[in-house]
Symmetry: C2
Subunit: 420 residues, 2 copies
């Protein structure tokens, strides 16, 4: 916390900060007398304050600690992550303003971002999935967000000059990348003090993950791809806890893990977390609601998300094929048959990457350090272990055999065909 | 040339520069009275002066123009490439000092590098290959250079922190990367004012390259890999003109195209240029020397280079498997069977990458802007075209079918099996 000029704000000093910041005063219509301030951070990385005045509102997110609270000072983290989060919110917002909260103010010294307050009834998507709520526009919106942000920050859209400059900048977000590398691609596959699982039920399952040679070979390939391949500006943590929803709104938040990385890491994170939500449903079933219909809705969302993503992404590619993107120059990919072949190959590879990363994200949520509320909220440990084991087995198969799936429909059919 | 403080040196001002630079005076034993200075630049990118005194010598390389001479001012190039060349000479020299000339002095403002003079009988390897000279240590030395420089700048050797920082720096060498992207991966596959070939003999062959959908799909994959994948600090232009040799010395020069890129780009450049040398031999045969034995020697060099590379690279990996490299943590890849599987998979993928990039480098030397002296020195155009066509056909096959080759021996057999 020795950073020059930085001080962690509390509710009182936050008001002083707002008063001294014209852009924030202006967002509140300069009505600062009766501000309601509420701290709503999840306790992992940041303090989050909701600030509501009589004439306006916003959220203030400040990275209060140079380390992650849940793990303690042994895991140092730079406060510069606020910078990468702000830059990414702006960049992704530029390409998909309807799905990303607007940034009103960024203070690099204070590691502080002021952005749109996502008013009630916005809730974290994960909580909605646990509650069994359907969001009719979810696949439409998420496919829009992913297709636009990933396409427009890739070499399909911009020149290699722009790309290498942007890649260089985001190489600076290395500490959060290292966290991803460790918790997603390494810790679950070895003994680690941070790993945990529903014990004793899954003791043997966790051990089996650590002893699965074929699985570890595939994970190595994905880890190298994550570390080496600067395909697009990815959100970097696109699970269902990074999405806020209402019946007709979908907003993607918290891109502090952003980096130029493989597109499949984002798509896989979202789809993988939907699959986790699917497998958790049996633990939330009760006599009133057996969740069977809801499980089918989740599967439909998985299928629709990928299929709509594919459609929107290739449509963007069609629209911009004569633009400044340099991966497929129009003078080279100049006949419709070849162009279509190129798109099909690209999308098939991207599906396989997405399934691989999605499976890796599922595994780490069951036997790694950070679990998901979908399962954690199942209080009966044996029931929770049953749900987690089914998810884990499916994820292991998916990671190892991802290349045999030609469409997302085949993946959904594989889930439906599982014995219960 | 408006860069502050920069001035292009001629022989006279070079002497003044040396006199004003203590490290250079010292290299000459402070004997500056009878300096012999010779300009030996190849006219493409740089001025190169050999400076020989009575008590010492060195080479001065200065990037004299902010654009490439052969193409003219329409193709602007930053002088900063001297910086990346100097950094790479030092970094590669750190890992493989016996195969990289020592840097004595670097002046960033002047875009000037002073380095070891590779005294006679050092000649450019390509010229030796055209003359039909065997270099008994060539495969041993080149495999040593490639294995050490590529391994030690990859995630097999260093942490992701070190890696991302180095990747960020080399993103700055984007103008030379763009040149590679254009001349290797784009121009040969479209109409371009820069393309040329042995006309009219190869008119139809050049057109066939531009109309080969399967080839263009594969080239797209390689281009994306080159632009996106930061696997190791590659030389970036490792053809047989970037290597100086004697009977027992091998020195790699001119890494101004260096970037963090796919390892296969370097390995492929070297092997692809050896294959070009092979196919050019029929054009150099005469009644005294039919070059048959020499062709077999080249094939042996191709085979030995890869096989020795593979051996040295995996030996380095064995030695450093408990080190700071983060791609394959020893706690995860902790049993001998798994470790061996991981190495085999890595090397098989690397062979396929190398064959792909090698083939692309061959194609561009026959139908792209910059040709090789191996063919250019065959004065009979119809004989030259015959040699080039055989090389081109082999390269097209290799690029499209590279994944069916499990060993380099299979590649050599495929060359030997070609009808003459």
């Amino acid at each position: 916390m020795a950073t020059e000029g930085f001080r962690a704000l509390d509710e009182k000093s936050l008001v002083e900060y707002i008063k001294a910041t014209p852009s924030l005063c202006s967002k509140l219509g300069n009505q600062l007398d009766d501000l309601q301030i509420k701290e709503v951070g999840d306790g992992n990385l940041n303090f989050v304050y909701i600030v509501i005045g009589s004439a306006g509102s916003f959220v203030i997110k400040q990275q209060a600690l140079p380390y992650i609270r849940c793990i303690g000072e042994s895991w140092p983290m730079t406060k510069e992550r606020a910078y990468f989060e702000a830059v990414t919110l702006k960049e992704h917002g530029r390409w998909c303003p309807d799905r990303v909260p607007e940034v009103y103010h960024f203070d690099r010294t204070m590691s502080l971002i002021a952005m749109r307050y996502l008013e009630p009834p916005h809730i974290i998507l994960r909580k909605g999935l646990i509650a069994g709520v359907e969001y009719p526009l979810l696949a439409e919106h998420m496919s829009e967000y992913m297709s636009r942000t990933l396409f427009c920050t890739s070499l399909l859209y911009h020149s290699t000059t722009v790309h290498r400059q942007a890649v260089a900048e985001f190489c600076g977000n290395l500490e959060l990348c290292r966290l991803t590398e460790q918790v997603v691609f390494s810790d679950p596959y070895k003994e680690s003090q941070y790993n945990r699982w529903t014990s004793p039920y899954l003791d043997r399952d966790a051990e089996a993950v650590r002893e699965d040679n074929a699985l570890k070979l595939e994970v190595a390939e994905l880890k190298s791809m994550f570390c080496e391949r600067a395909q697009a500006l990815i959100h970097g943590d696109l699970h269902t806890g990074s999405v806020m929803v209402t019946h007709d709104s979908t907003q993607v938040i918290d891109p502090e893990f952003a980096v130029y990385g493989p597109m499949g890491f984002d798509i896989g994170a979202f789809i993988g977390n939907l699959i986790l939500a699917f497998f958790s449903q049996d633990g939330h079933a009760d006599p009133v609601n057996d969740r069977k219909a809801y499980k089918q809705w989740i599967l439909r969302m998985i299928e629709d998300t990928w299929n709509l993503f594919q459609k929107k992404f290739t449509t963007l590619w069609d629209e911009h094929k004569d633009g400044s993107g340099e991966a497929y120059l129009s003078a080279v990919y100049n006949n419709p048959e070849l162009f279509l072949l190129a798109q099909r190959k690209y999308m098939k590879d991207l599906l396989h990457d997405s399934l691989g990363f999605g499976a890796a994200k599922m595994i780490r949520r069951i036997v790694g350090v950070a679990h998901v509320e979908d399962f954690e909220s199942i209080h009966d440990a044996s029931k929770r272990a049953y749900c987690e084991r089914r998810a884990l087995e499916f994820a292991k198969m998916l990671l190892k055999e991802r290349r045999r799936f030609q469409t997302i429909n085949e993946v959904v059919l594989a889930i439906q065909d599982l014995p219960s």
